[in-house]
């Protein structure tokens, strides 16, 4: 993984998640799952930090933070 991506961290704002499941369905690596109508990170090691979840989350509840 290149340096730029290594500096990014996947974050979830649980209060903002409305449980639509769009991020779970369009994650290319199946990193995410739904639990009690909220998104959770089930397998962080598989995350390639592509940002597709952030791009399509209608509620801005999941994003990559530059650390």
């Amino acid at each position: 993984m290149d340096n730029q991506k290594a500096k990014k961290e996947l974050k979830i704002i649980e209060d903002w998640c409305k449980g639509c499941g769009i991020c779970v369905a369009f994650c290319p690596k199946n990193v995410l799952t739904m639990e009690n109508d909220k998104v959770v990170i089930s397998d962080l090691d598989k995350c390639i930090k592509c940002g597709l979840c952030e791009l399509r989350c209608p509620d801005y509840a999941i994003y990559l933070e530059v650390v």
């Binding site: 209060d15 639509c20 769009i22 369905a25 399509r56 989350c57 509620d59 994003y63």
Partner: protein, 273 residues
């Protein structure tokens, strides 16, 4: 506690927004903020104006100059804002009903004038806020609360409508093809003249439920599978275009712009006085 894009361009204390779970409007609103950021526009030079409807909640969340006006009249207010303050980048956020039914006349005349305004239609094919009535973009034979036996009207192609009325930039994007939509919005804002972006959204709560189109994910998959890019349309056989809709840029031309022409008149006759 939220992403940098949200911190920079949104009124964070207003979030989360009121739109339903899976509503595509949030995706399009983020895309608009991304486009403004990509263009490096000064926040004080951007004015976002809306009418009434689900889409029209947008100015409440975006941290630019914002104006929430009356049903269908956002373009009329925007014309006033632009003429009073021509250096502003004026962006109108409207819905399919707000833009083409209640504000249909404003749409065609704003397009005819080619005034430098960018209209982004959050097109979810239904009136969401008022309870799922069919709109001018509900396809024929589909259902709404006011069309319980199917809609017999034909749907508007908003891009063709704006094109025929005189808009100099028309394009269609979707809530699924986000990066393309962002690029389209950037080009629309950059165009000096009237630009119309038909941004196809999803409404799982009313349009989806009334027409048994499934949940948000199914509706996103529909956008993915049934959208055909304008660049490849000519190369495809007609059977591959059945039931499909076309996305991409349709028109990008330059014509005299209204505020500039208006200022020319003022300059000319002030000299003579």
């Amino acid at each position: 506690m939220s992403s940098q894009l949200i911190k920079n361009n949104f009124r964070e204390d207003r979030l989360p927004h009121i739109w339903c779970p899976g509503c595509g409007h949030g995706i399009i609103m983020r895309s608009l903020a991304q486009a403004v950021e990509n263009l490096n526009l000064e926040k004080q030079k951007v004015c976002v104006i809306s009418g009434i409807g689900c889409s029209s909640r947008t100015p409440g969340y975006l941290d630019f100059n914002t104006l929430h006006t009356t049903h269908g009249r956002a373009l009329a207010f925007a014309t006033g804002v632009k003429l009073a303050n021509p250096e502003l980048k004026v962006i109108v956020v409207t819905g399919d009903g707000d833009c083409t039914a209640i504000g249909g006349n404003h749409l065609i005349h704003t397009a005819r004038r080619n005034i430098d305004i960018t209209a982004i239609v959050f097109n979810n094919n239904i009136y969401g806020m008022t309870g799922g009535q069919y709109s001018p973009t509900t396809p024929t034979n589909e259902f709404g609360t006011t069309a319980p036996f199917g809609n017999i009207d034909k749907a508007f192609d908003i891009c063709k409508l704006a094109d025929a009325a005189g808009a100099t930039y028309t394009a269609r994007g979707t809530a699924y093809h986000v990066n393309q939509l962002t690029k389209i919005i950037e080009n629309a804002i950059s165009n000096k003249g009237f630009s119309l972006v038909d941004a196809i959204s999803i409404c799982p709560t009313y349009y989806g439920r009334k027409n048994k189109k499934g949940a948000a994910v199914n509706m996103m998959n529909y956008l993915k599978d049934f959208a055909v890019d304008a660049k490849v349309v000519d190369k495809l056989p007609p059977e591959k275009l059945e039931n499909k809709f076309i996305i991409g840029e349709f028109k990008n031309t330059t014509e005299p712009e209204y505020t500039e022409e208006y200022m020319k008149i003022i300059k000319k006759y002030q000299k003579e006085r």
